[in-house]
């Protein structure tokens, strides 16, 4: 905690004071609280407070059976649900030595990439709000709504899907999926392009974000930043390329990287990632084979052998890791999540040091945190 005392500055002009921001502040992307120690418009120090959304997910996992835990992973990063389900399912599959049917892998990749687009669209909308623009939110949410309608048709829920299963999927795609996605993709490409055009090279947006919250690649690695926050610094690292999981090694896509590691570069990387995701979806649709999608386990109770496993994957927000310890029972002994948002948030103190108060919201927004994942 920062000491609570205000002193008059030697020049008799400005006063150092504490400014509380959050947890109900609309720009904190959830229930996140910052205590800013400011001198005029300059931030001297910041004390982040997390835990307002703590639900004890990791502890609840120890009391749930393996197939029930998928529902908890939906609720970690509640903007990118499919990506979370995927990494958990992969962890259990790795522990059990299961191979997933080919078609199920492709369906997973398609849904995960759609979810990445939906998540980044939400980001584009909220960074617009943070920088003072209202319009991009409307356009971004229109695109996100279209993706969510497809998710509802596929899994039955717009957000908490519970669609991936250990060793496969819940059920095959609906019969009209091909038609639905062929209708969706051109519209979605239009939406992405529009939300990109409307904000990325906007004069005001650039002056709000360029050279704000700069962090070097070395420092970013030291802080454990991953995902677009690290790639924005110019360091080309993507788990999908570095350690391909699922069927990502069969697709041709690029990893966009920024130059300077500021807020605008982080934004630009995310926008470019949406185009790459579209590219991956198109390839996956072409390559997708027919066949079974459900697990070879059938409806048997899942009981992995005793052992431990660590699996990582590329979420929209960065690298998510799941460390799973099994003792051969129907419930995990311990399940630890390495959430990308939490690790990205750790750099906030460094990024906000000596920044302006007005920029604090933009810097926080450019890290793109989801509090469900930070607090777990």
């Amino acid at each position: 905690m920062v000491e609570v005392s205000s002193t008059i500055h030697p020049d008799g002009q400005s006063v150092e004071l504490l400014l509380n921001m959050g947890p109900q502040h609309p720009s904190t992307h959830g229930v996140f609280r910052m205590v800013l120690w400011i001198d005029g418009e300059k931030i001297l120090g910041v004390e982040p407070h997390i835990g307002y959304l703590h639900r004890g997910s990791e502890k609840i996992c120890e009391g749930e059976q393996y197939h029930q835990i998928i529902t908890l992973f939906d609720r970690l990063d509640y903007v990118a649900n499919f990506n979370n389900e995927l990494v958990y399912c992969q962890a259990v599959e790795k522990l059990m030595g299961l191979t997933v049917p080919e078609r199920a892998e492709y369906v997973r990749v398609i849904l995960c990439e759609l979810n990445r687009i939906a998540s980044h669209l939400l980001y584009v909308g909220t960074i617009g709000l943070d920088a003072g623009a209202m319009t991009p939110t409307m356009f971004a949410f229109r695109g996100r709504e279209r993706v969510q309608a497809l998710f509802e048709a596929v899994s039955g829920a717009r957000m908490m899907h519970n669609y991936f299963r250990i060793g496969g999927l819940k059920e095959d795609l609906p019969d009209n999926f091909e038609q639905m996605i062929r209708e969706l993709l051109p519209l979605l490409a239009e939406d992405i392009e529009e939300s990109d055009k409307i904000i990325t090279f906007n004069e005001i947006f650039i002056s709000r974000t360029k050279d704000v919250g700069v962090i070097s690649a070395e420092e970013a690695i030291d802080y454990g930043l991953t995902g677009p926050c690290l790639r924005g610094c110019g360091y080309e690292y993507d788990v999908r390329k570095a350690e391909p999981y699922s069927v990502y090694d069969r697709f041709d896509f690029e990893v966009p990287v920024g130059l300077d590691g500021d807020c605008w570069d982080r934004h630009w990387v995310r926008v470019q990632e949406m185009y790459q995701s579209m590219h991956i979806i198109e390839q996956a649709l072409e390559q997708m084979p027919e066949g079974p999608v459900t697990s070879s386990l059938g409806r048997r109770l899942i009981r992995p052998p005793a052992g431990e496993v660590y699996v990582r994957a590329e979420n929209p927000r960065g690298e998510i890791g799941v460390y799973l310890v099994s003792q051969g029972t129907d419930k995990p002994y311990r399940l630890k999540v390495r959430p990308p948002s939490f690790c990205n948030l750790s750099a906030l103190k460094r990024l906000l040091k000596d920044a302006w108060v007005a920029d604090s919201v933009v810097i926080l927004g450019s890290l793109d945190i989801v509090l469900g994942e930070v607090d777990r």
Binding site: L98, T99, G156, G167, N202, E203, I206, K210, P289
Partner: protein
């Protein structure tokens, strides 16, 4: 000179250029938006849900007998991640009369919809086609405990769902599908020659089984 990504533009031209460009983009989008509104007038005009939509769980009714499908076997209750359900079973009087094949029947069933997270695990584990995820989703109440629904209410919601969607029990559907596939294969085999995709996929499944054992 401001460097923006990979773009370098003279400082004095940049703001003017961009303001005009930004205005054009916004104007174009506005005009486009005027033509076809995207807003849904939700509470006034109800939004149709997709066929697979998972609303609150409900119990189904077997018109043939007639009685609920549910036998109170408790498998959904054991598999529920939030423990939102409770049930008891009783001996089925209809079985003694010989009109039903169900030995046990549901006596008491309650779901606390405030606890339910709409995951659909109960439907997946049910062996008797007794529970469905209905399309009901506007069920808020003013009391904290007002969302506890009992057997008659669940059956009523289930009935509505059955009538609206023309629900066929999943086991019957699976059997129909399997019969159709068998018939198709039996028809194809004498003609021979064509290796179907299902046959190609089979060795992979067998491999999985061996690994998991």
């Amino acid at each position: 000179m401001p460097s923006v990504g990979r773009l370098i533009v003279p400082e004095e031209v940049w703001p003017v250029l961009n303001s005009v460009k930004g205005l054009m983009i916004t104007l174009a989008s506005t005009v486009k938006g005027l033509r076809k509104p995207i807003t849904q007038q939700y509470p006034t005009v109800p939004t149709p849900v997709k066929p697979r939509f998972m609303g609150f769980p409900a119990l189904t009714w077997d018109d043939k007998v007639p009685e609920p499908f549910c036998t109170g076997c408790m498998v959904c209750i054991r598999n529920c991640p939030t423990q939102c359900m409770s049930a008891t079973m009783k001996d089925n009087p209809a079985q003694a009369e010989g009109t039903s094949s169900r030995r046990k029947i549901i006596d008491f069933f309650e779901i606390n919809l405030n606890r339910c997270i709409l995951c659909g695990i109960c439907v997946e584990v049910c062996n008797f086609d007794a529970i469905v995820m209905s399309h009901e989703h506007e069920m808020s109440t003013y009391q904290r405990n007002g969302d506890r629904v009992d057997l008659p209410a669940l059956l009523q919601v289930g009935r509505k769902y059955q009538e609206k969607t023309g629900w066929i029990p999943p086991t019957v559907l699976a059997k129909q599908k399997k019969d159709a596939e068998d018939a198709a294969q039996a028809g194809q085999e004498p003609a021979g020659a064509v290796v179907t995709e299902a046959v190609v996929a089979e060795p992979a499944v067998a491999e999985d089984k061996a690994e998991s054992d």
